[in-house]
């Protein structure tokens, strides 16, 4: 590091001697917080969840390495949302354990953030207030960084009521990113959006995930969405894993990925 600094100092000195000071000399940029933060691994061991006598999840085992983009596909009522609620600690399993990193999930986990199907923005808070709803330390800077990530840096002073559906979901995404979660859970957050906005949200989510490196679990019933985004697809059918397949397609992906993607979509559809 010192060598680099010494070299650049020498350069600057030379430039200053040569000609204009303002054109070349800039104070060193303030230290930026690291853009990537730590993803957390997820582990479910023999997790069963029943509501009354009806089991929704049956002895589920699942290992998600840190930083993986996992997509869970299944019909409604297949236990997808229950799985989400168990991972973020909103519900407790009837038996078995859920681990986030080294910690066993018991109660709400600060390193896990959930993006709901609907944006769930408080209409009486401006966008800034919504994104920084937890008001952590130095939240204003973090809120701006998160809003910049989702491309809404200039909408901080707006009320949620003037935003479009896609923008609201982006604000909700920024709110999830503010605390730099190790695990981001996405519970069909794009289901209510139109096709164009959804494709936009896919690219945005993929970009942010690539940039920051957290673990993602996305729930969907859209097979094309799963193949477009996932490192790995898990099909959940009647509370059990019916298919667990890796998706090794190069990113960024398009609709016309060719035979491999088509084949994958067919396999997943067959398992659902």
């Amino acid at each position: 590091m010192t060598e680099i600094f010494a070299a650049s100092d020498a350069d600057i000195a030379a430039e200053v001697r040569a000609a204009d000071i303002r054109a070349t000399f800039r104070p060193p940029a303030p230290a930026q917080p690291p853009r990537r933060w730590k993803g957390e691994a997820l582990r479910l061991s023999a997790v069963t969840k029943s509501f009354g006598a009806r089991p929704v999840l049956r002895r589920l085992d699942l290992d998600v390495p840190a930083g993986q983009f996992l997509v869970v596909v299944g019909r409604s009522g297949g236990g997808k949302t229950t799985l989400m609620r168990l991972i973020c600690g909103l519900d407790t399993p009837t038996s078995g354990d859920v681990f986030v990193g080294e910690a066993r999930v018991a109660g709400l986990m600060p390193q896990v953030r959930l993006l709901f199907q609907d944006p769930r923005l408080a209409p009486w808070q401006r966008v800034l207030g919504n994104v920084g709803i937890a008001r952590g330390p130095s939240w204003r800077e973090e809120v701006y960084a998160a809003l910049k990530d989702v491309g809404l840096a200039d909408r901080g002073r707006d009320w949620p009521s003037v935003l479009s559906g896609g923008q609201r979901q982006r604000v909700a995404l920024a709110r999830a990113l503010v605390s730099r979660p190790g695990v981001l859970l996405l519970d069909e957050p794009f289901g209510a959006l139109d096709a164009l906005t959804r494709a936009e949200m896919h690219r945005l989510t993929e970009r942010i995930w690539t940039e920051h490196g957290f673990t993602v679990v996305l729930i969907t019933h859209d097979v094309a969405e799963a193949v477009a985004l996932a490192d790995r697809v898990v099909v959940l059918r009647q509370g059990e894993i019916a298919l667990d397949v890796a998706v090794d397609l190069p990113r960024p992906r398009t609709e016309a990925d060719g035979a491999e993607a088509t084949d994958l979509r067919r396999r997943i559809l067959a398992a659902v």
Binding site: C88, L90, L108, P110, R113, L114, F116, D118, R120, A122, P123, W124, Q125, R126, G129, I133, A134, R135, D158, W159, P160, S161, V162, L163, S164, Q167, R175, S179
Partner: protein, 294 residues
């Protein structure tokens, strides 16, 4: 919003190049719009002013006895006299003081009970049915009891007002808190808000529209209760002023008292509207400018 703004800017130079006739039309249209705006502002006053004119004419022509209803000019005269000898200002300020004290006490109690019962189930179980029972007693029915308890002093009037306003504020606060969006509460929990933060950032703002409806309703009850309480026994206040005037058949002062109540009621309502405008600025119904809709 920026793309439409840009397209407007692109259109502007073209319209600026149009000869000045167009500018004249615009000016005429603006004057016309201004006249229409003034008309809209005056229209609500047309009916009351018309009634006033007919009333004055009827009184001047002797069709209306001053024992039944004094002429508006007599009321204006009474207003001028009581204003000059200071009794009007004293009486109005005494009445307003009573009303606001009662509102502060009763409203505070109603709000506190609404919050506690709204956020904490055991409190609801313990208090709500009792409160519902008490709510159904017409509070003016306990006037004889109140006189026995407090005599005919200030406490009696303030107590009656407080009892009257407590229930609408309690009910609306309770209802507002119970109907806060469950999804938002769940979101707040997942995002790690403490109970205090949950209350201040989610529950209370969510309940506020309902609380303010309760406040407006309470203001009506506040004046009503005060009128009755002051009419029964007072040595000051608008109620006393009107009852005293009745003794001397001064119908003009009685009407003046009624007008004072009307004006105070309207003032209180306008104040609540202003509070709503400010506190509910986030609500689409209170956003005047349509700009920014994407």
């Amino acid at each position: 919003m920026s793309p439409p703004a840009r397209s407007e800017a692109a259109v502007l130079p073209a319209s600026a190049a149009v000869p000045s006739a167009a500018a004249d039309t615009i000016e005429i249209r603006q004057t016309g719009a201004r006249a229409a705006a003034v008309g809209r502002a005056l229209l609500p006053w047309a009916l009351p002013l018309g009634v006033l004119a007919i009333w004055q004419a009827a009184a001047s022509l002797g069709l209306l006895s001053s024992r039944v209803l004094p002429a508006p000019s007599d009321v204006a005269l009474a207003f001028w006299q009581t204003l000059n000898d200071g009794t009007l200002v004293t009486n109005i300020s005494v009445s307003t003081g009573r009303a606001l004290t009662g509102l502060a006490i009763g409203g505070g109690i109603g709000f506190a009970l609404g919050v506690v019962n709204g956020v904490w189930r055991p409190a609801e179980t313990a208090f709500d049915s009792t409160l519902q029972m008490l709510r159904n007693v017409p509070h003016l029915a306990i006037i004889p009891l109140v006189i026995l308890w407090f005599g005919i002093g200030e406490e009696a009037k303030i107590f009656l007002v407080a009892v009257g306003v407590a229930f609408p504020i309690y009910l609306n606060t309770f209802h507002g808190i119970r109907t806060v969006d469950r999804g938002l509460v769940e979101m707040a929990r997942v995002y790690g808000l403490s109970n205090a933060a949950l209350f201040w950032r989610i529950v209370l703002p969510g309940a506020l529209p309902s609380v303010l409806v309760g406040l407006r309703y309470a203001l009506g009850i506040m004046w009503l209760t005060l009128i009755v309480a002051e009419t029964i026994s007072s040595t000051e206040g608008i109620g006393y002023m009107t009852m005293n005037a009745r003794e001397f058949l001064q119908t003009d002062v009685v009407v003046l008292g009624v007008l004072a109540y009307a004006l105070l009621g309207k003032l209180a309502d306008s104040l609540t509207r202003a509070i709503e405008q400010r506190a509910l600025a986030w609500h689409p119904a209170y956003q005047s400018e349509a700009g920014g809709v994407a």
